[in-house]
Symmetry: C2
Subunit: 213 residues, 2 copies
DNA sequence: TCATTAATAAAACGAACGTTCAATTCTTTC
DNA sequence: GAAAGAATTGAACGTTCGTTTTATTAATGA
């Protein structure tokens, strides 16, 4: 047999991406076989190769989309204000919202870097560095204007990112905690951690971003 | 050919464990083949099966040793004092020192849980929970005595652990930062994050633990 | 309606995988 | 110095892997 009724290239590719993200997040890139992925999509393994030349191309495509979506999300969420407290609050809220909404692709992008070729690894890491630089800039401005008391900018940035991204390891929806509740607590912890000046902190950006899973 | 001159069971097993920890940390459990491991040890693949019945038995053994070593390290590092600030300082110092010294096995224990059978996964997670409970107890006592201002104990504990363990992702020795320097900065960030009472914080435990890699 | 193209199935490829087994040699013990 | 045990080799087993090739059908456009 061959082409099946109702088959559509775009739909199939999207289904492959979604299924691959979920499978890799759950079992790992090496542990996921192309046959298993094809079975999840409801297609034969050979059909996958119409959309992705190799398994690694598929992985790289997922990671690239993830990193670009993260940068885009922050560009759109970034407030006009230049006040460090406002910027940092927005960064924390966006980071947590994005990573919870896309925890599967976050897992893929964070845990499967070693399966990329050197050139592709560099490409992804460059995007990651670009994102982290945003946070470092906020922290540096805050320290320069005495809005924050944080001493080592690099360490503070890494600590914050690890802390925030770590949410996806244990957080599950439908528990005692909502996304908004977790974000609120993490905002308080962040502000204390960087030694934010008390006083005029009340105008946080409180429009919680929404992302599709 | 068969038994080689100078061969020794204990030495071979130790060599297997070390090589496996490094290989799994670098390439992942699924990506490491038994032949590759054997090559690293300087032995034929079949020889591995004298020490570990299956590949998964090897992984589980590495993880079990890691978690038990972590708990033992904390038991020995835990100060006699009951003051929350002192206990938390000691916990942070021990955690960072241990995880930097054993970053390879930390990677294995944190990233390869999905390759364990359900029963073994439960066994490892139970040890992890035991360890995390130590931190939660410290935080709870600190909050009860107003030594800390942390509100949500569970979230604070998870945030701190993610933040501290995250050090192994980016920290490399021989850089601008020493283990002691990183620990110092993380201690300050931790104390601010939990809203530790200023004043009598000076008697931290400052005997940095040493672990073998 | 008929050629063209897009989308898939089915089968096969060689390579690599975890693991087993029999044979062989070193080491220890008496 | 011979017997017993420990340590390892080399070859092989069946399975699964990523990928390729070829054939076949569904949708599309003139």
């Amino acid at each position: 047999m061959a082409r099946t009724t109702g088959s559509d290239g775009e739909r199939t590719e999207a289904a492959i991406r979604d299924a691959a993200t979920a499978l890799i997040a759950r079992h790992g890139y090496e542990a996921m076989s192309m046959r298993q992925l094809a079975g999840e999509v409801g297609v034969q393994a050979a059909a996958l190769y119409r959309y992705f030349p190799t398994k690694e191309d598929l992985l790289f495509s997922l990671m690239l989309e993830h990193m670009e979506a993260l940068l885009t999300a922050w560009q759109e969420a970034r407030p006009a204000s230049t006040r460090p407290q406002v910027l940092l609050s927005a960064f924390v809220e966006n980071h947590i919202a994005f990573h919870i909404a896309r925890r599967h692709s976050t897992h893929v992008s964070n845990m499967e870097l070693r399966s990329l070729s050197p050139e592709r690894l560099t490409r992804i890491l460059k995007l990651r560095t670009t994102y982290e630089k945003e946070l470092r800039t906020i922290l540096r401005d805050g320290a320069a204007t005495d809005a924050f008391a944080a001493d080592d900018i690099e360490l503070t940035a890494m600590a914050l990112i690890q802390m925030m991204t770590g949410v996806i390891v244990w957080f599950r929806p439908d528990e005692r905690l909502s996304v908004a509740g977790v974000t609120e607590t993490y905002l308080r912890m962040t502000m204390r951690l960087v030694g934010a000046n008390e006083g005029r902190e009340e105008n946080h950006v409180h429009q919680h971003a929404e992302f599709r899973a």
